[in-house]
Assembly symmetry: C2
Homo-oligomer: 652 residues x 2
């Protein structure tokens, strides 16, 4: 098998800037992937078992990399500077190479590893995780049950303490307690299982236990049954299964006891209040949730590289009796692709910002759970990014026509593999409700104890009216100013927050409606606010990243995409702005013209940007993006060059 | 293998109404499919060859049905009453059973059959199509080339007349002339090939030729090469390939000569002007284009059956200390699903209307090409319906969470199989341009010869201002009135049309911009107008169907969904209405409240509607929709009953 040539060109300044502080780690993984036979070829005729075996081989290859081994060792320690950022860098590069491997890495190191390292004692880390870094075994993460996916608090798997033997008895009381969709279920050796801890018949709420599933020879632990869920839309290399426990006995030491432990004689103790305990455990998974944003972003970048390159090679239609134009010149083509490209850039900077916040908090020894802004950001980013990815890949598929439907051109498998991101590890609709819960709680804390009243006071007393006034100072031609866009998205978030608080207050406090019912009747409002929050943060972070960029040309280029991102966000919600008279009919139309004009003006720059995503050609694969493939010569289009020669259309 | 029980219940009045005039044909196919072993099981471990063989077997099973044989015989005759409507009925039922079979049926009977029967002589029909109805051979349709997919007018395959032998020499002059994505390429025997007819070195434009590809033993015709394009995102049972012709000789009689024929001594004659000829040929494919709308609609209905049933079984979250609520009760869940359901109903009536128009025209011996309104409708419906389907299935997938990602629950394969509809047989972006071209031409014809000026005259002299006035007569509470919604969508179409005409006039006539450049700079406007046109027609046709419904209860139910469809259309475009001051901020908010309220109010009725789609359980397959599957017991949820017991939330 022929190894694809590793890109020898030194990275451009923009590529380095997009890679961020840990570019060396990324380069090390790019190199390892480009040099490995395992990542060179794609094949669409593998059986499920062959796909799973290949994914396992790829996972081990990644785990064997020296830089990875060192990283995993660091995971066992506390307060490792930049640990989250490094993890995200690795995640992005591995996911770009193969989403299956990335997801499986996330299960083994992020979820199982996250549970053991964040909820376990030093001894437990050494016993249950150190061997993972030494490739002795792998783990899985068993939280979701058949009856409770989104509402995980309602899980019913039991863990009864049996004092005479000092063991926990893990048990599945009903079909609805089956642990479902468990990744690595058919291959992993240990599971981090969430179950209701019961001592002397009394429940202490959900806790996490390490349960042996099978030994290195595949012999099952007594009482454990695993069944295979087999075929999915994508991620064929990830083995998802169902775990059923029939009075499975595990030693008392297998309870991961950071937020609740049981003494030999059956006494329960916990540093956390009962209501907070489960949230505190879930907070340990915050980095994994951010990982999903990075995974979605990797898929977006790949799709965009392929669609942008092809759009600059393929020609169709044109002025009479002249050469046909590149399809990128078609107004609708650049209008569909460029906003996604700006969103991918916004996500690059915003996910790094979130990782920085987490790294800072962890280094200071702060717990992540009580950082409401961070929790809101990470939950919201998960929803925003995974939906942005679905929309982006769909447009990439459509913008590449029949070529984009062919497996050899990579987009179909990216779509199928990443589609599940919008519902797994926290359904997006649930994530957005988390955002608003965190935002409301944050303000309540600042303002006193009454959730709703606190929020209203905060809002009315603060900036909303002055914001409104400051808007009135804008002249019409300021619509093209980034400050105008930033103020617009901030204004929208504030107003949505105030009106939601007011509605909830009326329903719950005044009309005494049941809370769930009241909340549910505002759910569309809740979701809208959550998205507005994330939109605002992505635009702010993009703007800051532009400001921080030291190379003048790069800053100029990023600045255009940042303006496009903001314009696109305001354009999407222009109905709301018109309803609130923040935009006039005239300025609203200006926003549309501005969007069309910006998409047109960055379409050639897009080639530089996708090039600077710096993804090795063995990961891109698509012949329509200039990666030759002897199996699909019919799909080959040479890679377009940047800067492209000026097209007559560019002057339109 | 166990045959699934055929639904013995007599159809409800609504089911009959949704089925339409040709319900007996639909029932005959439902019965044939339900009774056949071939359609009972799904399997996700087949190789490409196995998938293709199964699809071929299924196709033959369908072709062998007595009612199908009769239908195909009728295809050879002219002016068969209801032929198009019957074809659409068959297409819908077959596609619901298996999209691969439906697409392959479309290739063999719709495209190849359409070409032979509409462009050929009686003798050619008997020679090249009668045997298809007798299962002696199958055909394929070779228009698209590597270099020209959307812009088919630019195809470069050559057909040179060789007078000494009285043969045409079909030749592929370059790689860009390869006939690509050809369905049935690996199995079919004859191809309807579009090529530039060249006589004595002079080109007469594209014509269609029947070219033998391989005989019944698989022996290739001299000079023909076929290569396999293999793996796609979906439609794994459809064999797409590449055809290459190396000076392939075919008899003179193989030119399908309705719009241009060649005498033995090389004299060309045509009843059509050169500029119109190719369009006239393409018009023969109008029914196939409508078929795509029906295929997309079948996929939508299946997705909705599954998502609606599961949403009424699955429970998650709820009021404190009470049973969790059905996920359908979540505001965002019914908000996401119900508009798709109303769109599926709108498409049911609108596609039937389009088929009626075609049947009428064909019975009267009118040609379809010059019926501009019909061409605009069919092209627009293709784009609208296939995008509606992609959006619908994506929401169905997300609304069914992890279950919806599992192959056993059917949604993933529906998504992957129907995704290509948005770009094949006319990319949607191209289709929408066709809509506007037809609309503009239609008005130009009415108004005199100057395209743009005619249009402007037509518009300014007519209804736009009175429309505006009539709006001002509406009081605010009329937003909930269907008439308000109908007037709104009509107003929007007119205004968009007038403003587009005015822009084109300024650019082309006044500023002398090159036409393609001018058109391209208005492309977003063009697309917007085309969608507005189709929105308007779907709402009108839905409203008419409500009016025509004879059973009071059914009419009442359809009326709610019709109002929802109109509300959803206006809600989507409320920014435009606000920009044009057709909605005030207050009425715009009312539209949103109305949308939320309508979605809530029809969520239980949705169960009756999806039941009345009348799709056999062997086609639905999904265990989460109550179809038991021993292979995936973990996915089974019993079918919810209608009318569901009143939920407390329904009173919200």
């Amino acid at each position: 098998m022929l190894l694809s040539s590793i890109d020898q060109m030194p990275s451009s300044s923009l590529a380095r800037y997009l890679d961020g502080e840990f570019w060396e780690i990324k380069d090390a993984f790019r190199d390892a992937i480009s040099k490995s036979d395992l990542f060179q070829s794609s094949c669409y005729e593998r059986t499920l078992d062959q796909n799973r075996d290949l994914t396992a081989d790829r996972l081990y290859h990644i785990l064997r990399q020296p830089v990875m081994k060192e990283h995993l060792k660091n995971q066992l320690k506390e307060k490792q500077k930049g640990f989250i950022n490094k993890s995200m860098s690795i995640t992005e590069v591995v996911c770009a190479a193969d989403m299956n491997t990335g997801v499986k890495l996330g299960v083994v190191c992020g979820l199982y590893g996250g549970a053991v390292n964040n909820l376990g004692s030093p001894e437990q880390k050494i016993k249950f995780y150190l061997p993972v870094s030494e490739l002795q075994f792998t783990g899985m993460f068993a939280m979701t049950e058949r009856g409770h996916g989104s509402n995980v608090r309602g899980i019913i798997t039991e863990a009864r303490y049996d004092q005479p033997t000092q063991e926990f008895i893990i048990h599945t009381p009903s079909e609805d307690a089956h642990k479902m969709y468990i990744g690595n279920a058919m291959k992993g050796n240990f599971a981090a299982v969430f179950a209701q801890l019961i001592i002397n018949g009394e429940s202490q709420g959900p806790h996490c236990f390490v349960v042996p599933i099978r030994d290195e020879n595949g012999v099952m632990w007594p009482g454990v049954t695993v069944s295979d869920m087999k075929h999915k839309e994508g991620l064929h290399g990830v083995d998802n299964g169902i775990l059923i426990f029939d009075n499975v006995r595990i030693p008392r030491e297998n309870l991961l006891g950071k937020f609740g432990s049981v003494s030999a004689d059956g006494l329960y103790s916990s540093p956390a209040l009962r209501g907070n305990r489960f949230n505190a455990m879930l907070a340990a998974l915050t980095p994994t949730r951010l990982g999903l944003t990075v995974q979605a972003m990797a898929a977006m970048k790949l799709g965009l590289i392929i669609a942008v390159c092809y759009s600059h090679s393929r020609r169709q239609f044109g002025p009479k009796d002249q050469e046909e134009v590149k399809i990128m010149e078609h107004q609708t083509q650049n209008l569909r692709l460029m906003p996604h490209l700006s969103a991918a850039l916004a996500l690059t900077f915003t996910s790094r910002y979130a990782a920085d916040l987490m790294d800072d908090a962890l280094c200071k020894g702060e717990d992540l759970q009580s950082n409401r802004a961070l929790q809101a950001l990470v939950a919201g980013l998960k929803a925003y990014s995974t939906w942005a990815n679905v929309a982006c890949l769909q447009d990439c598929r459509e913008c590449t026509g029949g070529m984009g439907f062919m497996m050899e051109n990579r987009i179909p498998s990216l779509k199928c593999d990443s589609d599940v991101f919008v519902t797994f590890e926290g359904d997006n609709m649930v994530m957005l409700q988390v955002v608003v819960r965190e935002l409301l709680t944050q303000y309540t804390k600042q303002m006193g104890n009454n959730l709703v009243m606190g929020l209203i006071r905060n809002l009315t007393s603060s900036a909303s009216d002055s914001l409104r006034t400051s808007f009135l100072g804008f002249s019409v031609d300021k619509v093209g100013d980034l400050m105008f866009l930033l103020k617009a998205v901030r204004y929208r978030e504030r107003v949505l927050q105030r009106s939601l608080a007011s509605r909830l207050y009326t329903k719950v406090d005044k009309n005494k409606e049941e809370f769930f019912m009241a909340w549910n009747s505002c759910l569309h409002h809740v979701i809208t606010l959550a998205m507005a929050h994330i939109h605002r943060v992505t635009l702010e972070q993009f703007a800051l990243a532009v400001q921080d960029c030291q190379i003048k040309e790069d800053r100029a280029l990023l600045s255009k995409f940042c303006l496009l991102h903001g314009t696109s966000l305001v354009y999407q919600e222009r109905a709301w702005y018109l309803e609130h008279k923040y935009l006039t009919p005239t300025t609203s139309r200006q926003i549309r013209s501005q969007l069309l004009e910006l998409c047109r003006s960055v379409k050639d720059d897009a080639l530089k940007v996708v090039d600077d995503f710096n993804i090795p050609s063995c990961c891109i694969q698509a012949p329509i993006a200039g990666i030759a493939n002897p199996r699909a010569e019919w799909a080959f289009y040479p890679k377009p060059e940047y800067p492209s020669s000026t097209q007559p259309l560019s002057k339109l």
